[in-house]
């Protein structure tokens, strides 16, 4: 029972902050609400016995991504940009589409017979590491290359062309 209540509270936090993240007029607020959503999700990860991922979620997402986004907002002078320019007028179709999609997905989930959550001790980081570095080592290495490429790509993209002049 307590678990259900906890789940309800976290879910409500997540959905609420998520909704605010997509509806806030101020971009900075949006980013901050996104951070709140991500933290709530991290809490759910803990509930799903994935502490390592919860930690990563907070470190990478909330620490890294949100910060980056804030930088982005600042750098592009959007901090105080408020109002219509941020939000397009076509809100009703978007709401309908979102609701329709949710309805369909919910129906799909309801129809599918899913295995119940197995109550087990949280997965140890050691095991996760084994899975990562034994079963999926190629993907892991590919990911590292991807990150390197991302880094180089970001530098190339963001570099000012007039530096040479």
């Amino acid at each position: 029972m307590a678990e259900t209540i906890a789940f309800g509270i976290i879910a409500a936090c997540m959905l609420g902050s998520g909704l605010l993240a997509v509806t806030s007029k101020k971009l900075v607020h949006s980013v901050l609400w996104l951070a709140a959503t991500l933290v709530s999700t991290a809490a759910l990860y803990v509930a799903l016995a994935a502490p390592f991922l919860a930690a990563m979620q907070i470190v990478l997402y909330t620490g890294g991504v949100v910060t980056l986004m804030l930088f982005g907002v600042m750098l592009t002078d959007q901090a105080h940009d408020v109002g219509a320019a941020n939000l397009s007028g076509k809100r009703l179709p978007a709401v309908l589409l979102g609701l329709l999609l949710f309805g369909l997905l919910a129906a799909a989930i309801q129809r599918t017979s899913l295995p119940p959550i197995v109550e087990a001790p949280p997965a140890s980081t050691v095991e996760l590491g084994k899975v990562l570095l034994l079963d999926h080592v190629v993907a892991f290495e590919a990911l590292s290359v991807l990150l390197l490429a991302t880094m180089i790509g970001a530098i190339v993209l963001a570099r000012r062309n007039d530096v040479q002049d």
Partner: protein, 99 residues
């Protein structure tokens, strides 16, 4: 909690992301929507990993996490570039790909 609860939660979050992507004109706003969507996906992955009692789902979530970071970095770089060339980050202003 049943697995479907997590999945429904993920679906709801995903649809919010969809809504965000559709309504934001600001490129960073769009990125926020995308983040919500990937987050929903990660939630599903972990929930199903738990349900199946196998860690591969978590490993995937981890990869997805890293990919998201990469995506945000490149996305923001593009936003900066867009801002520099168009003095605006509104997605409507970049229509050079018009057929």
């Amino acid at each position: 909690m049943p697995t479907s609860a997590y999945l429904l939660l993920g679906a709801a979050l995903f649809c919010m992301g969809v809504f965000g992507v559709l309504t934001r004109r600001n490129a960073i706003g769009v990125l926020i929507g995308v983040e919500l969507m990937t987050n929903a996906v990660n939630l599903n992955l972990i929930a199903l990993s738990r349900a199946n009692g196998h860690l591969t789902g978590q490993a995937f979530a981890l990869f997805s996490l890293a990919l998201t970071v990469a995506e945000v970095i490149v996305g923001l770089a593009i936003v900066l570039l867009l801002y520099r060339s168009h003095r605006s980050v509104l997605t409507d202003s970049a229509v050079e790909m018009k057929g």
